[in-house]
């Protein structure tokens, strides 16, 4: 299994955010993680990427325990993240932001500066602008391109549609088939359920730090999602 999470707990001081999450992602798969604000989605992402450190065996990559590894070593294993809020480096130009994504790990995949520019042509025109001078949608493209530059086996996308106009979200999701065609497994954390269901093979729903639903995306009914998302049994 490319990534498996077993009994993951996480807390910030007294506040417990995750209560034993079980989750797995196979190579090449696209998994959506949905849930309301505060469900623990971002905490889960921070744990997988090593920004939050956990017990080693709670998270495994190709069966190796990686729960306690720091973020830089997680990236070097081939797990890259598009962080929530994009988090471009303001001191770096668009091109430098992309380059720094591939500075430590280049992998062997297809993604290079030219490939990113052909995926998002607008970035080529803006490549010498400071990353933060771009529109929100363009910044999101830079953030995705930056993560792809390491040619990850697993790409984690945290709330990539947050704060963007629907037409821009559509453009960004249009890049997903090309990303999957490069062989990377993708995890999409979303609040936009319809969007998540339309692209994912499987869906996990989190509520208050627990997995309340997991199923293949095509099998899900509105009622099941509603119950898992809000905890209501309408």
């Amino acid at each position: 299994m490319l990534l498996s999470v077993q009994g993951l707990t996480a807390q910030y001081g007294q506040f417990k955010a995750l209560f034993g999450i079980d989750l797995h992602v196979a190579a090449g798969e696209c998994v959506a993680i949905i849930g309301a604000n505060g469900a623990g989605k971002t905490t889960l992402m921070r744990s997988i990427t090593g920004v939050l450190r956990n017990a080693p065996e709670m998270i495994r990559h190709n069966e190796d325990p990686i729960g306690a590894l720091p973020a830089d070593l997680i990236l070097q294993r081939g797990i890259a993240m598009v962080p929530e809020g994009r988090k471009l480096f303001p001191s770096l130009t668009v091109e430098e932001n992309l380059r720094i994504g591939g500075q430590v790990r280049r992998g062997t995949g297809r993604w290079s500066l030219d490939e990113i520019y052909s995926l998002f042509p607008i970035l080529k025109d803006r490549r010498h602008s400071p990353g933060t001078a771009l529109s929100g949608g363009q910044q999101q493209m830079v953030a995705i391109g930056r993560a792809l530059m390491s040619n990850p086996e697993l790409l984690l996308c945290d709330e990539i549609s947050l704060g963007l106009a629907p037409v821009v979200i559509r453009d960004i999701y249009a890049a997903l088939p090309a990303i999957r065609a490069s062989g990377a497994a993708v995890v999409i954390v979303e609040q936009d359920i319809a969007r998540a269901l339309s692209v994912a093979d499987r869906v996990y729903c989190l509520m208050e730090g627990r997995v309340t639903l997991q199923a293949p995306a095509k099998d899900l009914t509105r009622e099941a999602i509603h119950a898992a998302y809000f905890g209501a049994t309408a």
Binding site: T49, P70, A71, F89, E96, Q103, V104, R146
Partner: protein
Amino acid sequence: MIWIDVLVQGILLGGLYALFAAGLSLVFGIMRLVNLAHGDLIVFAAFAILLITGSTGLHPFLAALLAAPLMFAAGWALQRFVLNRVMGKDILPPLLITFGLSVALQNGMLEIFSADSQRLAAGPLESASIDLGPVTVGTMPLLTFASAVLVIFALNRIFYTTALGRAFRAVSDDPTTASLMGINPKSVFAIATGLAMVIVTIAALYLGMRSNFDPSIGPARLIYAFEAVIIGGLGSLWGTLLGGAIIGVAQTIGAQLNPEWQILAGHLAFLAVLLIRPRGLFPRAVD
């Protein structure tokens, strides 16, 4: 005519202050760490050069070339094994550590090298001068200034054209996101402090060739360095050079009016800049 001379001498003196300040500026720019032992590390490097010249008979310039990698290693180790343990949101712990280091360095050097004034002998270079028409400038001050410009030019090239510089800026912006790029911020910090110590070695070389030094003079060098960094604006390297020049010019003007006013005039210029531009002339860091 005398005032042109004062101005030129002041700018050249500013080169020395800019050399004192460049390492401080580099470290502050990348990790928001104010190294209170910076001045003492300059004196330490000067003693290191002195030891090498004493035991090998090399000219100070060559001795500094040998001392630089040693100082890089010392800076790297200091950051890696001491300062990185206390880096975090709170800026106070690293400040206290460097304050302690300053005291320890001063007393350690006093123990080992005694309180005697020392000097790096540079031979005929010490008194050589060049006639530039209206003014005559010392070769040594000219070399100092040229070195300062070169150091700051080189640092800028590293910052803006190399992968290391990209990592420096990324880590300075946001260490957590930089770690998501596979960069270990603490390794980057260690390299930055090592690099700062190479600049400290260059500063020490000129300090030692131009004036006497003893274990107690570090803190005063730190003050000049500090003022140059603040005048230039935190994180701006060319600003640091300008800051050094402003202090240098103020000092030579003060000394021209009354020799007792030299040091005071430099500090007054610093305060005046702070009054008009509290964030310095070219502030880069926005936080």
